[in-house]
């Protein structure tokens, strides 16, 4: 177990040490900042029409909604892209750099390698979601202040309960990203081109969002990974509506299991010729 933790710590240092990943975190944090500043500027000129993201309009009344709004928007592109990038590095990147063969001859067992790589991807997703939420709360608080929250059901809950709901939302978002990371890890075992992994994972994510927005394909929607990703909004009802959350977690878990097994099947006995 200690060896696994050491490997994981080394893996996290590797991910965190890449300039590109550091820049990616800055991009993730820039969006809630832009959102809050934008709201501040436009709120001077009176209220705008509501946008797609229902939380955005509430930011001016309570800064904490900047976190919910930012999570909603970033799930469309930036958070999945982060997972897509880092999962490209996971196995394909090691293969391209020539480090995969040296990891395996240390030796690191292939099961251990996949396990540590996957846990690191999951933690990266959590880190990304937390970075977005914390930046949102801090910026929102600075510009608009925070206080008791008005839920989507219309009543008020105390700030502490609101922070708790936000924390649950972050975990729910992270679960979706963890499922996507399993897809990414699988694709990463298939190629030596990290950029190809990133592209494929982004095509899968963007494609799912597009399919999910076409009403005529509603029969397909429950099977799409992203279909229930935004239902963390249900946590802001009072009491929280758990139905979609639970089924969303079920879809995430199913994707994770299927694609982790696929990754193992593809990697366990593969000839490593990189």
């Amino acid at each position: 177990m200690r060896e696994l933790l050491r490997f994981l710590a080394s893996e996290l240092r590797l991910v965190a040490g890449r300039r590109r990943n550091q820049a990616g975190v800055l991009v993730l944090m820039a969006l809630p900042i832009a959102l809050v500043i934008g709201d501040k500027v436009s709120s001077r000129g009176g209220r705008r029409e509501g946008t797609g993201a229902g939380f955005v309009d509430q930011i001016t009344t309570n800064g904490i909604f900047a976190a919910f709004a930012a999570l909603t928007i970033e799930l469309g592109l930036f958070l999945p892209m982060g997972i897509a990038m880092v999962s490209g590095d996971a196995v394909a990147g090691e293969a391209q750099a020539g480090t995969l063969r040296y990891l395996l001859t240390v030796p690191v067992s292939r099961a251990r390698l996949l396990a540590v790589k996957y846990v690191a991807l999951v933690l990266t997703g959590i880190f990304g979601a937390v970075a977005v939420a914390v930046t949102g709360v801090v910026c929102g608080a600075l510009f608009f202040g925070v206080g008791p929250l008005t839920t989507l059901s219309g009543n008020q809950i105390p700030l502490s309960a609101g922070i708790g709901r936000l924390a649950l939302s972050v975990l729910y978002v992270s679960a979706g990203l963890a499922a996507l990371a399993a897809v990414g890890l699988f694709v990463s075992t298939l190629t030596e081109q990290p950029i190809a992994v990133t592209v494929v994972v982004m095509v899968i994510t963007a494609g799912s969002w597009i399919l999910d927005s076409i009403p005529q394909l509603s029969a397909l929607h429950p099977w799409l990974l992203v279909d229930r990703w935004l239902f963390f909004a249900d946590l802001m009802r009072d009491p929280p509506a758990w139905g979609n959350i639970v089924s969303g977690l079920g879809v995430d878990a199913a994707y994770a299991v299927v694609f982790l097994l696929a990754a193992w099947a593809s990697f366990a006995n593969r000839d490593v010729t990189s």
């Binding site: 001859t105 490593v272 010729t273």
Partner: protein
């Protein structure tokens, strides 16, 4: 450290074969690398050396055939035995954004068998051994080709090893670096480490090898101690004389094979019963004016060229 006299082979394969689709990369080879040997694994580029090495290390699965490393089956028991094997496979592979030392620490961190209390000492020691101490904190992307190759060798030396598998260790090194690698191999061998070193350039390794295996087109076309391989080949004697014709007559009478003459020389291939002094005595007794007498032992290089069709014809 391994006891050079320990029984059993360091590496042994039986009928080891690898097919990639229709292409046969390695065609049923039986390697036998004794413990304590410095085994030169030679052959032209594309002869199957690297694929074989990848199979020995469990990276590539054999199509058929068995592999034993230090008595353990590969790939089944790779986890138990590979910590005792250091390797350099097909050139260096490191993270460009990490320093040399950080790359070695990374490899040590993932090693379940390593003693992590001694990581810094071992990293510093391995870097010192390949002359990279000054570049330890430089990012890998700034390393020259030779420095990258040295770092890869340092990685192979990070923990105490019983076998070192070095695939083309002198690639990218200048003549001085090549000499240093040879001297490092000798030092390790003297300490009892079995060294399995591949090269397409025989001259780079032949001075340090005790054993040689020669690959060509996926087959192991020769294997044995350097002495045995040389002994299996015809030596020739070369008589420099003003009377080549008489000299040739004497050589023929003595029973030497392939006797031939040129303007000032007669040559022949002695069989087992001719020792050089007897031949010289017979020549002198027959009144042949001998102004020079040379016994030419065939070099490994000639054997290598003959078996692989590689290299350049020196005599042409």
């Amino acid at each position: 450290m391994a006891d050079p006299g320990a029984p059993g082979a360091a590496i042994r394969t039986s009928g080891l074969t690898k097919r990639f689709g229709d292409q046969v990369a390695v065609a049923g080879i039986d390697l036998d690398v004794p413990r304590g040997a410095v085994y030169g694994f030679l052959g032209p580029n594309g002869s199957g050396k690297t694929t074989t090495i990848r199979m020995l290390l469990g990276l590539v699965r054999a199509t058929t055939g068995g592999i034993e490393v230090l008595g353990a089956a590969i790939p089944q028991q790779a986890a138990q035995v590979l910590p005792r094997v250091g390797s350099l496979v097909e050139g260096p592979g490191f993270h460009a954004h990490l320093t040399g030392a950080a790359n070695l620490r990374r490899l040590d961190a993932v090693d379940p068998a390593a003693d992590h209390a001694t990581t810094s000492d071992r990293v510093a020691g391995a870097l010192a051994r390949v002359g990279l101490t000054a570049a330890a904190d430089k990012r890998y992307r700034k390393y020259s080709l030779g420095m990258k190759q040295r770092l890869a060798i340092a990685a192979a030396l990070l923990s105490p090893r019983e076998i070192l598998v070095l695939d083309e260790p002198t690639n990218g090194l200048d003549p001085q670096g090549t000499r240093e690698i040879r001297s490092l191999i000798s030092t390790l061998a003297a300490a009892g480490v079995t060294v399995f070193v591949s090269s397409h350039l025989l001259s780079e390794v032949e001075q340090v090898c005790s054993h040689v295996g020669i690959m060509n087109a996926g087959r192991l076309v020769a294997q044995g101690t350097v002495r045995d391989l040389q002994a299996g080949r015809a030596t020739t004697v070369r008589v420099t004389t003003g009377d080549p014709a008489s000299a040739a007559r004497v050589l023929t009478r003595l029973g030497l094979k392939n006797v031939s003459t040129s303007r000032a020389e007669a040559t022949g291939a002695p069989t087992g019963e001719h020792d050089p002094p007897t031949v010289v005595a017979a020549l002198v007794a027959a009144g042949v004016p001998v102004s020079g007498f040379v016994v030419c032992t065939p070099t490994l290089e000639e054997l290598f060229v003959e078996l692989t069709g590689e290299g350049y014809a020196v005599d042409a």
